[in-house]
Amino acid sequence: AQSVAQPEDQVNVAEGNPLTVKCTYSVSGNPYLFWYVQYPNRGLQFLLKYITGDNLVKGSYGFEAEFNKSQTSFHLKKPSALVSDSALYFCAVRDIKTKAAGNKLTFGGGTRVLVKP
């Protein structure tokens, strides 16, 4: 079974400082990994994904993530955080064994990011 862990419930960072949100995964085959962001009372917005290729993936709003196979990690990063980046972040892994290639996502527990001015 696939699983995702986000070890930090909350990350606090000052505006302008680098932001890192951690994610580790467990899959039986090749991992398909995603990051989503959720603002209050909103649905989830897609940020970026890793399927294959370069380990450094660039996504929306200046975010990027680094895939590390040996450490089974997919940490989300932003070089300079903004107050508007304050939100709930979810890492997710695709269940590739779903019948008919349905695209079930297994989510981590979420990390709340608070960027202070």
Partner: protein, 115 residues
Amino acid sequence: DAMVIQNPRYQVTQFGKPVTLSCSQTLNHNVMYWYQQKSSQAPKLLFHYYDKDFNNEADTPDNFQSRRPNTSFCFLDIRSPGLGDAAMYLCATSRGGGTVNTEAFFGQGTRLTVV
């Protein structure tokens, strides 16, 4: 333009009174999902449709049902809502057919309150 639309955004229902949440999509995606999310926790998959093929999660209570009359629409029916069913309900869509590298697109959610 919104691609996955959920109505209503906020729903208040009485304990035990059936309620239906709706979702529509303009993406023509094969797969539609319903997730339940409580108190900023991880979204929990209730079920999903691959075209007309319904796939229920093993731990989804019988109180939750779903209908997908056509590609564009999908409904979540809660037959007898309890206080514990108060949550944000998220609809999502994605392509199917082996395209496992595609992301899911989420609607804005419906926040359900049970009184």
